[in-house]
């Protein structure tokens, strides 16, 4: 069905954000406040970007902000990318959802706040799966996560760039899909996930882009002995996805990078969201709002629900 989609924010919004990022970068680097700025630069295909680390103020003009700025750059501050993280204080461009990841990483003692300069973007949204590289940001091309975003105005940044123009109401496509799943019988849900996981090729793109998958030895790579089957077959795939969901429960910031990176279009964020919902119900906890030292799953409290211990 062909629908009429309205463009969200005109080019002046993105131009303003881009300019503000460049100005801030020039200032930070020339004054020596930070050693590097992690941001986005234009990619080769129209509308695409690539993450970049800039250390020279003269290169500030390379930085851009566009609806293609999908990456959560917090990845480049993690242990998994320790070889590229410049020493000293680093500035990072962060959308609201990326900031939730930063909050999580701060809580897990992976980052020190005083070593970070956060350039928060007041965010209209980014493009989602299926949007062509050259397409504009519209009510049709916007990412599912952005339709339900509650962190457009980032809090806790050192500086916020841009101003969000008025936006239309979005139907919560992903919440509806989650509700559909929850209404299924366990057998139907099993079939749903079995179908999706049958396409998983264990390329680990979901893990590699996740800011919280920074373990130096992932359980899923273990081979002495093997913890779970590493081959892309039903048993190992199911095990991998259960491990992934459990290890990210109460940590996942909802940036949906895993789902975006998945070349097999597996709706991984439905699992993330379900786990987040469980954490909210069981422990009244929401990941990534403020840095907390211990998440509910790594902490024991007397008043925790123990009814499941029989």
């Amino acid at each position: 069905m062909q629908q009429n989609h309205t463009q969200l924010a005109d080019d002046s919004y993105f131009a303003a954000v881009t300019n503000a990022i460049r100005t801030e970068t020039t200032k930070l680097l020339s004054e020596g406040t930070v050693a590097a700025v992690i941001g986005y630069q234009a990619g080769t295909r129209a509308g695409t970007v690539i993450p970049t680390i800039i250390t020279d103020a003269a290169k500030a003009g390379d930085l851009v902000f566009s609806p293609g700025c999908v990456n959560n750059l917090a990845l480049y501050l993690t242990k998994a990318k320790k070889e590229v993280r410049p020493a000293g204080k680093v500035a990072i461009i962060a959308k609201g959802c990326d900031m939730r990841a930063l909050a999580g990483l701060l809580g897990e003692s992976q980052l020190k706040r005083e070593e970070l300069h956060i350039i928060g973007v007041a965010c209209v949204g980014v493009k989602g799966a299926g949007a062509g590289s050259g397409e504009a940001l519209t009510t049709g091309t916007i990412a599912r996560k952005c339709r339900e975003c509650t962190v457009r105005a980032p809090e806790g940044a050192d500086v916020v760039v841009g101003a969000v123009p008025p936006l239309p109401e979005f139907s919560p496509v992903e919440a509806e899909e989650l509700a559909r799943l929850e209404a299924m019988t366990p057998a139907e849900r099993w079939a749903f996930w079995k179908g999706h996981f049958s396409r998983c090729i264990r390329c680990m793109a979901c893990r590699q882009v996740c800011p919280f998958c920074y373990c130096e030895q992932c359980l899923c790579d273990r081979n002495r002995p093997q913890a779970l089957e590493t081959t892309p077959r039903p048993a190992g795939n199911m095990a991998w996805h259960i491990v992934r969901a459990m290890h990210l429960a109460g940590r996942c910031a909802g940036c949906t990078e895993c789902e975006r990176a998945c070349p097999m279009d597996i709706p991984l964020n439905l699992l993330n969201r379900k786990m987040a919902r469980e954490l909210k119900t069981l422990y009244d906890f929401e990941a990534g709002l403020v840095p907390v030292e211990k998440g509910p799953l790594t902490e024991y409290r007397e008043e925790d629900d123990q009814s499941f211990i029989k």
């Binding site: 990619g43 080769t44 295909r45 129209a46 695409t48 970007v49 690539i50 993450p51 970049t52 680390i53 990456n71 990845l75 480049y76 998994a80 990318k81 070889e83 590229v84 590289s133 050259g134 179908g195 999706h196 396409r199 090729i201 264990r202 390329c203 680990m204 793109a205 893990r207 590699q208 882009v209 790579d221 081979n223 093997q226 089957e229 590493t230 081959t231 892309p232 077959r233 190992g236 990078e257 975006r260 990176a261 070349p263 097999m264 279009d265």
Partner: protein, 334 residues
């Protein structure tokens, strides 16, 4: 004389092949994407959409068992997989960048060791290639010596014609025999091919790129290209010519299987030695290997480029690394 086949006849031909007990692998809808999968009816054939994964898995599956073992009171029994029992297969609807790939891989799979799994499947498969009429902004077959009309690697080659249907040309002897056998599905006569796809690709000077690679193993450019690389397997797994695999034993003490499955040089553990030493200890060295293997080592060993320009790595890289941009930057160097 040129033969033509209508789309309906092509689908009925697939039905007949299936009825005759052949395995037919073709682009087919799988969830929200299209993949090469065995089809159960000609109706399922999706034509003109490039599958998300390449056709290499027809010959080199994502995962396959190479032996099984069992142990009981009486001892251990090991049973080999009989490659001779692999089914006769028709691979249909592969664009030139996919159809050309298995022929590139023949060299490595029959080099110092004959990989019977790959070679047996090659022997038993007929490839029906399909000319491309649409390219996207990641396609660059023309920059690596192929073209949207190239029948390299195909046994039969289909070219879409105006008004529907295809020109059907036999490319190899195998293809000719196939055409003769199923002549009743074909018609003669003239037909006007649809205009070919036109990838907007910058020509690549592959010899010049190789020269640069010879002397720039330690270039600081590798950091610039690939510090951002996340180290996943997306590019290698989707690539029609990446062919690294891992072998693992999976099972219990009493029963299990030895399996071969895709591996990728982008993974951090790919070159991790048992000693704990890892010669490719950081990501840009792993990405360097990707480029070296494709544009130098495979040239040195087999005289071929390990890239067909399908653009899958460009489309799938989660951090936007574009292999064309890397190659163009290399060729711009003195």
């Amino acid at each position: 004389m040129t033969k033509t086949i209508t789309e309906q006849k092509l689908r009925s031909l697939m039905d007949l092949l299936l009825k005759e007990g052949r395995r037919v692998v073709a682009p087919r809808q799988a969830g929200s994407i299209v993949l090469y999968e065995p089809i159960d009816s000609g109706e399922q054939l999706v034509l003109g959409i490039m599958p998300r994964r390449s056709a290499k898995e027809t010959f080199f599956p994502l995962c396959e068992t190479i032996l099984t073992y069992g142990k009981d009171g009486n001892g251990v029994m090991v049973s080999d997989v009989d490659a001779g029992a692999f089914p006769e297969t028709i691979l249909v609807g592969a664009p030139p960048c996919d159809a050309a790939a298995p022929a590139v891989l023949d060299a490595v799979f029959s080099w110092d060791y004959n990989d019977e799994f790959f070679l047996e499947r090659r022997k038993k498969t007929i490839i029906i290639g399909l000319a491309c009429t649409a390219a996207d902004d990641a396609c660059f077959c023309t920059a690596v010596g192929l073209s949207p009309r190239d029948d390299k690697g195909s046994d039969l080659f289909l070219t879409p014609v105006a008004g529907g249907g295809y020109l059907c040309d036999a490319v190899t002897k195998k293809g000719k025999v196939f055409l003769d056998t199923y002549a009743s599905f074909l018609a003669g006569g003239e037909a006007k091919p649809l205009p070919s796809a036109e990838p907007a690709a910058t020509p690549l000077d592959l010899a010049g790129i190789k020269d640069w690679l010879e002397s720039n193993f330690e270039s600081p450019l590798w950091q610039e290209f690939a510090d951002r690389c996340a180290g996943c397997g997306a590019c290698a797994f989707l690539c029609p010519v990446c062919h690294c695999f891992d072998i693992v034993d999976e099972g219990t003490e009493t029963k299990g299987a030895r399996r071969k499955s895709w591996d990728a040089c982008g993974f951090g553990k790919f070159t991790n030695h048992a000693s704990g030493h890892n010669p490719r200890d950081i990501q840009n060295k792993r990405y360097r290997n990707r480029i070296m293997h494709k544009f130098k080592y495979y040239q040195d060993k087999f005289g071929q480029t390990l890239c067909t320009g399908c653009g899958r790595c460009v489309r799938s890289c989660p951090v936007g690394i574009d292999i064309r941009a890397v190659l163009e930057e290399i060729q711009a160097k003195p």
